[in-house]
Symmetry: C2
Subunit: 406 residues, 2 copies
């Protein structure tokens, strides 16, 4: 008998996890991002907005003002729906952009991510079908996966979500409960859903009474071209839930976003949020509302758009200079990402370790596919580095790709 061994403490099994957790396993991307954010790596992997453009001083002044004038109220519990002046601001802005939205339809969330979560919680029973573009925003897939949804993967091209693909699926009886769309500057692809496809998508949703989740974290970041109407603005029968956020326009560290929904869905999402975290931070909501009273928000957005537009062009130029023939990429009109594909059967996953050795990083595109994974793609973030650093990083990436071609 090996006494040494038997005297080791027995570690009992931990409590069994819920079934849904098997659908939310920590993603490979989480691990990739941890490595990629090492300070020695020139990373295009994350989805970080440019911190040098955060309105730090203006936010500091707003927080200070709120705490001086209304300190106790700004630190107390508040209603789940959110701070009313902030809800009014959101409704007014969306209305100016072509939708008709009242403050009562707005629920202030902890980022747009919580909006996705609340829609999953409110609408999805296990096995419910969710139509998702293939590829899609990974944390939305994880979230819907956690609600044990069945994915209906929809094809994707340079105009985004292929509505005719959805139409064919529906004709075969595969009617989804929910359609998830990032219509503007898609993550990971950077593409924009064309106006014509938006019309057809709305018509399909109307005909089959399918709810649409229009996730719009990047819509304010258009640096070229003009915006098609939002699905929210086209909705006349209460099917569209719309998500927005201050994470890419003011600062993600505030965790402030919003969900806009027809009355019954709004009520359900509010109840779900109450059980989730009671309400979004009072201080942050009041500070944002105070800031927006006097801040030149559109001027500020103009600076972000200009910087991101330059960075996006810098990245496209660098890709043309440094990547081998046959490499392709999307031409985003806004947002944070572009999506490149490698030539001659190269797999982005195979390049990743060598890229790290060259001190450059990206996210292999395979991570974003809900079902059959494809391996030739990379997601590249352009918002978080200067044009010079982008040039340098893409040159390194070019070296890695060339090594793999020979």
């Amino acid at each position: 008998m090996n006494l040494q061994r038997s005297s080791q403490p027995v570690v009992p099994a931990p409590p069994r996890l819920a079934r849904r957790m098997s659908r939310m396993a920590a993603s490979a991307v989480r691990e990739i991002l941890k490595v990629a954010e090492r300070p020695d790596i020139l990373s295009f992997a994350g989805g970080l907005p440019a911190p040098e453009l955060f309105p730090v001083r203006e936010l500091a002044a707003a927080v200070d003002d709120v705490l001086r004038r209304e300190g106790p109220a700004a630190l107390q519990y508040s209603v789940t729906e959110g701070f009313h002046p902030l809800r009014e601001w959101v409704a007014a802005r969306l209305t100016r952009q072509g939708a008709r939205v009242t403050a009562e339809q707005v629920l202030i969330t902890c980022g747009a991510q919580q909006g996705i979560e609340l829609v999953g919680k409110t609408l999805l029973d296990p096995g419910d079908r969710v139509a998702v573009e293939s590829p899609s925003y990974l944390a939305a897939l994880q979230c819907f996966g956690g609600y044990e949804a069945t994915f209906l993967p929809i094809g994707s091209d340079d105009q985004g979500f292929q509505v005719d693909d959805l139409e064919r699926a529906i004709a075969k009886g595969k009617v989804p409960k929910l359609i998830y769309v990032v219509a503007e500057f898609h993550n990971p692809k950077g593409t924009t859903l064309s106006a014509e496809r938006r019309e057809r998508l709305m018509a399909l949703a109307r005909a089959h009474r399918i709810a649409i989740l229009e996730d719009n974290p990047y819509g304010e970041l258009r640096f070229t071209g003009s915006a098609p109407p939002s699905l929210l603005s086209m909705d006349d029968t209460g099917l569209v839930i719309h998500l927005g956020t201050f994470s890419k326009t003011l600062a993600p560290g505030l965790r402030l976003g919003w969900l806009v929904a027809p009355p019954e869905l709004h009520r359900a999402a509010t109840v779900a949020k109450q059980a989730s975290d009671l309400h979004s931070p009072t201080l942050n909501q009041r500070a944002a509302a105070r800031l927006l009273e006097s801040f030149d928000y559109d001027g500020h957005l103009g600076r972000i758009r200009q910087a991101y537009g330059e960075r996006c062009l810098a990245m496209q130029g660098a890709l043309a200079r440094h990547l081998p023939e046959g490499t392709k990429w999307t031409r985003p009109e806004g947002g944070l990402f572009l999506w490149a594909s490698l030539p001659r059967g190269l797999k982005a996953d195979d390049l990743f370790a060598d890229a790290l050795r060259e001190k450059v990083a990206f996210v292999p595109g395979s991570a974003f596919f809900p079902a059959e994974k494809r391996h030739e793609f990379l997601r590249l973030n352009f918002s978080n580095r200067s044009p010079e650093r982008i040039e340098e990083g893409i040159a390194r990436l070019g070296n890695v790709v060339r090594q793999h071609l020979t």
Copy 2:
């Protein structure tokens, strides 16, 4: 044909909600609190901490300092687990209080409510049995209900959760997946679980490998007596998940709490939080950590404890003076609430409307029962009013009760 009618727009049915939403219907309490917080009402209904004790100036200085010194980082995305110095602070404090906790076991949440939510998400499949004291914290019942749990209601007396009741249920084969306990200054009752019951509860959990959720939002608010060891400190086999919060000690409007769990559950809760809202607000976490570097937290807690202790005694004295014979109430050693029972078959629910007419409010206790509701109880909050206002409000309540007795 009635043209007028047929020309009205047809409002189509909204998308069907998920099954779980029927278990999370907006509670009666939500409506009660809305009415009760009218400025003309002297309300004991809410669960608000005393805003005049919020460290407003100190928080303002901490936020300002963080934004001046580390603005962009304080406003950027950050890791799901939370800001490491704040996790270290939580671990150190819990360790000083008798548990052995490392920063790696701490997950920073949006209030303790999100801790409850994450435990539900991580552990509960539909039909899983959750043992809950009867009565229990309402938003926990709603949250577990949302995960379609089956409640195992456990009796409750002046020492809290009746462990022998749970023992009998287990002997009959009703083994819960999770035990939910507010061991310190229970909401709604104000009771504290005795040290002896804690021992027996841990022994039961160990014997049957049942996870325990120790929800401890009020533990720092003890104004008399001495604290039994926490369940967390007694756990040697990885069964206890412990929740705490700054909502009652610093300010609820920051939405900062923590979840402490054994490694596998911590990992699962982190993945679940990532899908829920990515992470808690960076700015709030850094400001709290900065504040706690220099703030006399224990001195601050001393002032809260003294005020709440005075208010609690004031309420008990007022109840003795103004309520008719046969009225009983708990004697909390801390926290925010006491629990009164009416004599001679009176139902608190029946008194509510008349109480509003007398400009006083409470929460009828029936709301807090997971199954068979009892109607003789009221939950009374003492933290949010001065002793003078408490005297006045309880005198009004006494009038209402006397009217119903005659």
